[in-house]
Assembly symmetry: C2
Homo-oligomer: 375 residues x 2
């Protein structure tokens, strides 16, 4: 796996029971996954020679993030390395412009969008809405964003200059009047077998995922089925191998629009570690090895994932005493990362029959681990 | 953790979500746990200098097996190393004679037993039963046995010479007329907090654990409570820290007798990985770090663990295609070990509402992985 973040850490954890050998390409020995994996190569994923040497002896190469340059992925594929997902699929997770174009062609509903050239072009895009000046508009650099980075909500042409400064193409999108955000997680194997997890609700705070509720409360069977079918269709159309997260807007008038794609285990699927028969990490491993996929069904009526962000306390382990004693069924997943304010350093999963209770337990633990509350 | 076997492998897996650093002392880099752990020291656990160097920088040292010499453990304790369980407790898992003496003193019911000096003494021990010649009798070397090794059933004085050849004291025990074998698994922290898992039935084949059923079918609430109380009492009396497995005979006349003790995660607790809120491995880690213990309750009406023994096929991974496709809810746990006939190389967990179905799924998968069946 290329990339030493928490996704690689948890993928290794999920691979141990399968008896597979897991090799990691990590920036530093201190990276989250590098702390727990036996075979670690330290190197820069932007260096093709490093990637080539790393791929030697691997049956299959997969990714913790979308940042490996496409030209390097193509070179590895030309070398005969099995890359999963493949470069053609990954391009859609790397470049939001390519993704929007392809999904629109395939008839998948997306927010109104187009690539814009400059602030004046943003104003024209906004005016095309046909209502008032059309602002606010969402601007995104087509590459390199995550967790709200690389995304701007602009309320007029005067605010539209910043996104163009990076020199990366800018995508303009309508500001969707959404009721909430959902995520449809599916896993697809090279054989074309696919499984769909229950559709979840994802609650963001300041552009960062805060809470995921599985299944999405009150979601109709029809809309849930539509979301799963959209994700399965996207996976098949794009030839995705492995885990695919499709982030969706549920609009106030009851439509689903695709927001983002991720072709790797995803924050919206962390609840599966304790809440599904087979976790997204285990199924990602099975998919990239072309093994039959595991049962994605939930194990409890409700499972809630709550992210733990870095707070003021550099050492969160003191909080374990309180959190574990208060809630013996709490499932803690920490990433071994240094605490920095706002950084995702772990998550907790809670599950049970009573959603309000399950949410409260997760909220309390996450806030206590962060240091926001102390009792 | 000292010892690179599958118990260390699965303990590491369970420790990853807690964000702890796990250091391993392993005989070879090919050992089961050494394949998946980042910080591995290769060395001989019988060498005190090796142990001392390994313990440097560890907050706590725990064990994958009972074979570290007691004098080395005492030396480490004298150095100020936190050893959990401590040497006084571990002695009872290392030496069956010491264990029997201590449990009998504490009023814990055990099979009739005493240390015997030679074959003639075995005959005297047998005759003390007061019925016929008293044979068969069970002889055990007090140290070094596992999985049926170091245990003999002798039917007369003529068969009683072999156990004395190792030069280790020999314990004679009555041959218990048992209805079945049970195991009571508990975990105890230095604080004295303890949790008890549901009592399980353990089915042995040729002296090796084959199947574990959780909870033990048809076990009365009274006997289940008695077994849990016995295990909790033993853990407290002996000052155990970490996981304690108490293997029990359920006699045909409805009594419980202690067979063996293990002070570490144990084969009879592997079902907890997929069948309990908190696995034995996670709770062992929490206990040795003196953290509050996790909920030991079951997540399904029935969970069955079936061991996978090495068979004729050196590569079992081909069997994954069939096993995973046939049963998407199957939980496979392989140890990364070379296949040798009869060697424990993995286990599978199955769970559900219908015990017969859950057992069949486990049996089929284990037999297929071993190569005993091919369809």
């Amino acid at each position: 796996m290329v990339g030493g973040g928490q996704l690689a850490r948890m993928t290794h954890e999920a691979g141990i029971p399968l008896g597979i050998r897991f090799k990691l390409l990590s920036d530093t020995p201190q990276d989250s996954a590098a702390q727990v994996v036996s075979e670690v190569v330290i190197g820069d994923y932007r260096d093709l020679d490093v990637l080539r040497a790393f791929a030697q002896g691997c049956d299959v190469v997969t990714f913790d993030h979308e940042h490996v340059p496409a030209e390097h992925l193509r070179a590895l594929e030309a070398d005969g390395v099995a890359i999963r997902p493949g470069v053609e699929a990954l391009l859609h997770a790397q470049d939001k412009g390519v993704m929007r174009e392809r999904l629109s062609e395939a008839g998948v509903p997306c927010p109104r969008h187009r690539i814009v050239a400059d602030p004046e072009d943003v104003a024209r895009f906004a005016a095309e809405a046909g209502e008032g000046d059309g602002f606010p508009v969402v601007l995104k650099t087509v590459r390199g964003g995550y967790d709200g980075k690389g995304v701007w909500v602009v309320r007029g042409v005067g605010e539209a200059a910043e996104p163009f400064r990076a020199g990366v193409p800018v995508l303009a999108e309508e500001m969707v009047d959404f009721a909430r955000e959902l995520a449809a997680n599916v896993v697809r194997s090279p054989h074309g077998q696919a499984v769909a997890y229950p559709v979840v609700e994802s609650i963001q705070v300041d552009g960062v995922c805060d809470t995921v509720i599985a299944p999405a409360p009150g979601l109709s069977e029809e809309l849930s089925g539509t979301a799963q079918e959209m994700a399965l269709k996207i996976a098949a159309e794009l030839g995705v191998v492995g885990h695919l997260a499709v982030e969706l807007f549920e609009t106030r008038d009851g439509r689903l629009l695709v927001n983002e794609l991720a072709m790797r285990p995803h924050n919206s699927g962390h609840w599966t570690q304790d809440g599904a028969v087979t976790s997204q990490f285990a199924n990602h491993v099975r998919a990239v090895l072309d093994l039959p996929l595991g049962d994605p069904r939930p194990r409890a009526p409700w499972t809630v994932m709550t992210n733990v962000l870095g707070g003021d306390y550099p050492d969160m382990y003191g909080a374990y005493l309180h959190c574990m004693a208060r809630d013996p069924a709490l499932k803690i997943h920490m990433y071994g990362k240094d605490v920095k304010p706002g950084r995702k350093v772990g998550h907790v999963n809670t599950y049970g029959d009573d959603l309000a209770d399950v949410r409260e337990r997760g909220r309390h633990a996450a806030d206590y681990l962060r240091g926001t509350i102390t009792e």
